[in-house]
């Protein structure tokens, strides 16, 4: 039997370690590059693109936050994210309760249809949606865009919550029913409090999705004072003259909320994103 500490074991582990470290450096480099560049002056950036900055130069952050309506865009992104996450959560939980704990005609088919909507690309719907939203005067409004985001978040949300509700023991519900609890009462007083972990997962995953989304925001929030952070960022590429360090500072501020949420809610992220397949 081969020794656990033999040459072959040592060699194999080293190869693995080197490959994984290489992949990790590759994953982190853009973030590192963004972080160090945002503290450099323009001339320092040109002379030294990948090294550490000689000193922490905060001026770029002032430039970034002052220009391009940064706070307005940040606020727009926040409004859309909070709005669509909250609305979709409530609607999805109600529907999930019906799928998990009620019997009705066409349940299985309806559930499958909703599941299949999960991967339908939004680009397919944007043209007719735009035509409709123009007619309803909902283009360039928070409400209109929140409705669209809610619709796009619903399939995954319903799926995740239905699976979670199904796992809650029937006995608890039966006991409450005998005590005279209505369906709405059971939903509100029993299912929701028991589902806190799933709800957190869903909020984290959905918030990330809306915060990062570009296409819908581009089409439905066209007015300058309504543009989201990601739309503002994507417009920077086509500039002929760009202050790269200041741009990087802006990108860093736009990314920080995500990184913070990720660090504190890592297991929720992983559970939520793999929940679709490895339930």
């Amino acid at each position: 039997m081969k020794s656990r500490y033999g040459f072959q074991y040592w060699f194999g582990m080293s190869v693995r370690q080197i490959l994984v470290i290489f992949a990790t450096l590759l994953s982190l480099f853009p973030v590192y590059f963004m972080a160090v560049s945002s503290f450099k002056t323009k001339s320092e950036y040109i002379a030294n693109k990948w090294g550490l900055p000689s000193s922490l130069n905060w001026a770029n952050f002032q430039t970034a936050l002052a220009g391009e309506k940064f706070f307005v865009r940040f606020a727009n992104s926040t409004i859309l994210t909070v709005g669509s996450v909250v609305v979709s959560l409530i609607i999805a939980c109600l529907a999930a309760y019906a799928f998990a704990r009620m019997e009705f005609y066409g349940k299985r088919t309806l559930f499958n249809v909703i599941l299949s909507l999960m991967v339908v690309p939004p680009v397919v719907m944007i043209i007719p949606l735009f035509v409709t939203m123009v007619r309803w005067h909902l283009v360039n409004t928070y409400q209109g865009t929140i409705i669209i985001y809610t619709g796009l978040l619903l399939p995954f949300s319903i799926y995740l919550m239905t699976n979670f509700f199904r796992a809650i023991p029937r006995e608890i519900i039966e006991a409450a029913r005998i005590d005279g609890c209505s369906n709405l009462g059971i939903f509100w007083r029993i299912m929701m409090p028991l589902s806190a972990p799933a709800v957190v997962t869903l909020i984290v995953v959905n918030a990330l999705w809306v915060w990062n989304e570009l296409l819908i925001a581009l089409v439905f929030m066209q007015k300058d004072e309504l543009k989201t952070l990601m739309v503002g960022i994507s417009a920077l590429r086509s500039r002929n003259y760009v202050d790269i360090p200041a741009t990087m500072a802006g990108l860093l501020v736009a990314t920080i909320p995500i990184v913070i949420v990720y660090i504190f809610g890592q297991r929720f992220f992983i559970r939520g994103l793999t929940g679709g397949a490895v339930k």
Binding site: M13, A95, F130, V131, N212, I233, T274
Partner: protein
């Protein structure tokens, strides 16, 4: 008793209303729009004229070719994700840290990542500075500015960002495989490759299939943001993709009906894979792995 029959639909009503507005009605309208054309400010049915027009449109055909070329990313992503997931599963030192960092790109906004990478791949960007510094100035190319390299560069960024999802997915599944299976194979004298091929891959078959299908759908219909931010479809349409074609045709050139016909075709193609994905989800072979 009537109440009991109606109640489920009351719980479902808000969800169904939103889904009708966002999915069902638009798809129905899309079909109609794709067979119409505006003349003198009014829409008229023109049969399959729009479809004929796009099938003769070189830019559209280029976009389709590019989407097909992007499919090369799928096998690369599967293999890279599988290898890294296996290494992490073998508990190399610091595997939890690596899992955190390897997953990070998947969470970052494409707009942000795209912009950072376009500064990295610029002619005077970090990559070329680095290549020159180590004496490989011959390799310092215009990564995003040449028609030959722009698409492969874009593919690199897409793989860079999407592969983390595969790693986490595979790792989660691996952790739920019975340890005995690996031990039994080891006792039978299987070497590392045999172990992966005969135990790991079959055990992961369902998640691998799932990841493959999701990635195919991504390459065909979820790459808009990458292209929009990094190349805008250029240079010379060399990175044009179907989604960008729909967006530009519909909103920049105001040819909503042509754009609708393209969207119908895209929906039909992705529909095949959406159906496959649904079949897979129904299949109970995919089991609970994440606590």
């Amino acid at each position: 008793m009537l109440r009991k029959k109606i109640e489920p639909y009351l719980f479902l009503a808000p969800a169904l209303a939103v889904l009708l507005i966002v999915f069902a009605y638009p798809v129905f309208r899309l079909l109609i729009l794709s067979f119409q054309r505006p003349t003198a400010g009014k829409l008229h049915f023109v049969g399959i004229t729009n479809y004929k027009a796009i099938l003769n449109d070189d830019v559209f055909l280029q976009a389709v070719r590019n989407n097909l070329a992007l499919l090369i990313c799928v096998p690369i992503m599967v293999v890279v994700a599988l290898l890294l997931a296996i290494f992490l599963f073998e508990r190399i030192r610091g595997w939890q840290f690596y899992r955190t960092t390897l997953f990070l790109p998947y969470l970052l906004p494409i707009a942000v990542v795209g912009l950072i990478f376009s500064y990295i791949f610029q002619l005077s960007g970090v990559l070329n500075d680095f290549l020159t510094a180590i004496g490989l100035s011959g390799l310092a190319l215009d990564w995003l500015g040449s028609t030959r390299l722009a698409l492969p560069t874009l593919m690199f960024v897409i793989i860079w960002k999407e592969v983390g999802f595969g790693i986490v997915l595979f790792l989660a599944r691996l952790m739920s495989v019975e340890e005995d299976l690996f031990d039994a194979a080891k006792i039978d004298g299987a070497n590392w490759w045999q172990l992966q091929w005969h135990v790991t891959v079959p055990q992961l078959a369902a998640v691998i299939e799932f990841f493959t299908i999701v990635s195919i759908i991504t390459m065909l219909s979820w790459v808009f943001s990458y292209v929009y931010v990094m190349t805008g479809g250029g240079p010379g349409n060399s990175t044009m993709v179907t989604e960008l074609f729909i967006y530009l045709t519909g909103f920049r050139y105001n040819q909503m009906n042509i754009a609708s016909a393209v969207a119908v075709l895209l929906l039909l193609v992705t529909g095949v894979f959406i159906f496959l994905e649904l079949r897979l989800r129904e299949n109970s072979a995919i089991v609970e792995a994440v606590e």
